[in-house]
């Protein structure tokens, strides 16, 4: 997570150039690991992840892209959206449901250059990362029967561990972005003079910086504590519960901090040449991806109902 925190200080999602191949590739067969995971680790193969659909955003259970086995091929039909960089990826993990049965979510490994994987539209987004989030129409793609990760019906199970990693990575990135914004704002406040004094001397500005520092300290403490617990063998359910709370807190805190940094810069904070303006666009997305803030709260509420408040409060 320390690496995520460090590289996320760069704007435009340049942190994505420090590649993290999908975690669930570790659950592939030995051949899949040789053919996909090894080159992915070396940076020779980029693997996109396509779950979201027009009708399946927060509700991933709403996936309708279907896969039907015909002889030794899957035939896949459906629609996907927001799959980051699937327009340029070498491979993509595609969440499908087998035989149109929502109880059989299944991950297929496809080549996005295959005939039938049609990029309909590459909308522009607020973050300019050089990578798109295309809308895709999938028509009668033929996928070899063994190009499947895990078993039929294991699709969501395989991505659960990955959710923990991805949510903690977002928390770490949000903290990294907040740190850079705070350092820039503090330096600016020390040299920008108004009413004959550096603006950092005004308590209104000083208090913003103190709140930013305390928000970072809180988020960072939470993040690395949960990471240490997971490294110490925390069970999967508690890891999932705590990763959601950490993702929610750090992405919201990151947003608060970067927004205050922009305020300290005044109009200069709105100039695209100022990293703070770009961080403002970047950090905003962290409250949406890998489960929105509202969905994290739904998850946290569910854990409290099932396991009790102690999950979050009963530690020393």
């Amino acid at each position: 997570m320390i690496v995520n925190e460090e590289v996320a200080k760069a704007t435009g999602a340049l942190w994505g150039r420090v590649w993290l191949p999908p975690m669930c590739l570790k659950d592939g067969t030995r051949e899949q690991k040789e053919e996909i995971l090894r080159p992915a680790c070396a940076g020779k193969v980029f693997v996109a992840f396509c779950t979201s659909e027009p009708g399946a955003g927060s509700d991933a259970g709403g996936v309708r892209t279907s896969a039907v086995l015909r002889g030794n091929h899957w035939v896949v039909n459906g629609e996907k959206c927001f799959a980051s960089f699937s327009e340029g990826a070498d491979l993509a993990l595609l969440t499908t449901i087998v035989d149109s049965d929502p109880k059989k979510p299944t991950l297929l490994i496809i080549n996005p250059k295959t005939k039938g994987y049609n990029i309909k539209r590459l909308p522009s987004f607020m973050q300019r990362s050089g990578h798109g989030h295309p809308e895709v129409d999938i028509r009668d793609i033929k996928v070899p029967a063994d190009a499947m990760l895990g078993e039929v019906g294991q699709g969501f199970e395989l991505t659960k561990d990955w959710f923990v990693e991805a949510r903690l990575a977002i928390a770490a990135r949000s903290i990294g972005m907040a740190i850079r914004a705070t350092e820039l704002a503090e330096a600016y406040a020390a040299k920008r003079v108004q009413f004959g004094r550096p603006i950092g001397d005004f308590q209104a500005i000083e208090f913003m910086i103190t709140e930013m520092a305390a928000d970072i300290m809180t988020g960072k403490s939470m993040l690395y504590r949960v990471c240490a617990e997971i490294d110490g063998g925390l069970d999967r359910k508690h890891a999932h519960a705590k990763a959601s709370a950490t993702k929610w807190y750090c992405s919201e805190a990151g947003w608060r901090v970067v927004d205050k940094a922009l305020q300290i810069f005044g109009e200069r904070g709105a100039m695209c040449e100022n990293p703070v303006e770009r961080l403002h666009r970047d950090v905003r997305l962290e409250r949406i991806c890998e489960g929105t803030s509202e969905i994290q709260k739904v998850i946290i509420g569910g854990h409290i109902r099932k396991r009790g408040l102690d999950v979050y409060t009963g530690w020393s």
Partner: protein, 59 residues
């Protein structure tokens, strides 16, 4: 030293404005960044050394 410390400043910050203006980086730049990632041993930190990752814990 913290893993990854200084990497963003040296290898990513110089390309930020170009990326924001063009929404694209030239392939030579992309390749130079990929090579720097390998040189700093930051590739696939989340995967096992056996498969070419850095074998750091994923948390």
């Amino acid at each position: 030293m913290r893993p990854g410390a200084g990497f963003a400043e040296k290898h990513l910050f110089p390309h930020e404005e170009e990326l924001d203006v063009n929404d694209h980086l030239p392939e030579e730049t992309e390749e130079a960044i990929r090579q720097a990632v390998r040189d700093y041993h930051l590739n696939a930190v989340n995967h096992a050394v056996e498969w070419g990752g850095q074998g750091r814990s994923s948390s």
